[in-house]
């Protein structure tokens, strides 16, 4: 089992490396000449030369990649083009804010969705199950900002329970911070919970059609007991995968939600950088988001190996 886990972790590192190469190719090699792409057609030749030098384009691409990677590993992601600030200093507090929001949403969403998903599977075909099928389908097909605005109307405009913009600043007490980020967290919860509920339900149900479950039914066990005692232990692995997948989705869904609530997170920084076409910041944010994504997926796979009883005794 240890070997399996080590292999999976190595694969994760390899993936990260490949991802960094892909991001580098997309931002630096694909455009041909980033300088003229960013400055536009009206740029003077002198401005282009200065700008190329600033971006480090006088160095061949493989060396540039190597320097960028080494820098990133040592926590140096370079300097922003537009305001000349050190990118790491700008990213770190925002990453913390984003992870706080995502974590807050995850704490509500995971127990809610997994619980309701199992409940839905127990009551398969009954009215409550059919209702949850339609409701979750509707929820996942709506745009994120629509759900956000509905919540704002319901809870910030009609009744004054929560602020419609979340002002989160450094050094805020935790209770105030929680209060300010509740509305975005609820929005995110609704987004991922619907997905998770559907997937949990279908992974429990797919196990329900196996022979050993039929045996348990023939023995005369109640449906409820069969699901909790017999089906759930084997459904754990797919459920963990589902949860991880949705956590990864959450980290991305955060980008739009942050824009709605003007929440000072990493997504906002990236969107700003894209509209100002600040390539080093875009590169850095992309790398951080992709890293979070890959780490979550790797963790999920490791957890799946750990909870699988069949793999426990093999050395």
């Amino acid at each position: 089992m240890t070997r399996l886990i080590v292999n999976r972790l190595l694969l994760g590192v390899l993936t990260l490396f490949a991802v960094s190469v892909l991001i580098f190719i997309c931002t630096q090699i694909l455009p041909g000449d980033v300088a003229s792409a960013v400055l536009g057609q009206g740029a003077t030749p002198e401005a282009l030369i200065v700008f190329r030098k600033e971006l480090g384009f006088d160095v061949p691409p493989h060396l540039r990649y190597w320097n960028w990677l080494l820098g990133a590993l040592q926590g140096d992601l370079g300097v922003a083009l537009t305001n000349k600030r050190v990118i790491v200093d700008e990213i770190m507090p925002r990453l913390a804010n984003t992870l706080f929001l995502a974590g807050y949403a995850a704490l509500i969403a995971i127990p809610l969705a997994v619980g309701l998903g199992i409940y839905s599977a127990i009551n398969e075909g009954k009215l409550s199950d059919k209702l949850s099928n339609i409701l979750t389908l509707v929820a996942i097909s709506m745009p994120e900002f629509f759900i956000a605005y509905l919540l704002i109307i319901a809870m910030a405009v009609n009744v004054d329970w929560f602020p419609s913009l979340s002002t989160v600043v450094k050094g805020m007490p935790l209770s105030e911070r929680l209060y300010q980020s509740t509305l975005p967290a609820i929005t995110l919860t609704l987004l991922v919970a619907a997905h998770m509920l559907r997937m949990t339900r279908s992974s429990v149900l797919s196990i329900m059609s196996t022979p050993y479950i039929e045996m348990a039914f023939l023995k005369g066990a109640k449906r409820r007991r069969v699901i909790i005692r017999h089906a759930l232990p084997n459904a754990a692995a797919p459920i963990i995968t589902v949860v991880a997948l949705n956590m990864a989705y959450l980290v991305v869904g955060v980008v739009v939600i942050e824009a709605v609530f003007v929440y000072p997170g990493l997504g906002q920084l990236m969107v700003d950088a894209v509209s100002k076409r600040d390539v080093p910041v875009i590169q850095a944010c992309g790398l951080v988001f992709a890293t979070v994504f890959v780490v979550l997926n790797t963790l999920a796979d490791v957890l799946v190996i750990l909870v699988n009883p069949r793999l426990r005794n093999k050395s």
Partner: protein, 277 residues
Amino acid sequence: MKVFGQKPTPSAWFGLVVMAIFMVVVIFTPWLAPYEESANVGGTWDEPSATSWLGGDQIGRDMLTRIMYGSRMTIAVALAITSLSFLIGIVLGFISAVLGGWVDIFFTRLLDVMLSIPSLIFALIILGVFGSSIPVLILTIAVIDSTRVFRLARALGMNLSVMEYVEAARLRGEGLWWVISREILPNARAPLVSEFGLRFCFNFLFIAGLSFLGLGIQPPYADLGGMVRENAAAINFGMMAPIYPAVTIALLTVSVNLVVDWMLSIDARPSGAQAEL
């Protein structure tokens, strides 16, 4: 009444009717819209009235007219993206499945790496470097989306390429294109059609999301996501302006999803678990 030889469920009927209405409106927008696309007909966020059913937008244009033109734009772009993404995904997926070997290994590895970057982040990276214009948007999202189509097409191709009739076609010396277009494609049609619906929804939401962030379809073109963004400030005054375009987006995606859900349930019925217990 039957559609595709099946009787639709009530929710599927709802979806089909809404989709039909959208189709008519989007095709005949210039004749159906009450005003010109960018004509100012009133004040900022005018109340809905008999002459302007949904009121005005942030600079006093008619909301209903803007929504019609916006739907037209967003749907056209999303359809273009999905068609292109299916073209890329199906061709590469089938080639990968039929040829196997290093071609297959190359594409699946590339896919694994692409899938490790969340699609929105990937799109933001490309748009940040190239700037946002409609051709760049279509190409970028189509390439990102084709990874999902590729996965499905490759799996379908793998299953179908070991069938006797494909083997027979190969033995009588048919070329790669003939095998793909005449033997594999017709048999993969049903799952690909419902996937087209799902991918369309995804791309439609994707475009709307990007436009909402101000990075998608740019003004002066009306588009639904951008309209939500432009009218967002109205919500603080308790006005519904950003809700109308958002509802339009939700209505279309929910409808397509309901229809696809119904189509999938035809293939799956009766569910094994349900039949046994």
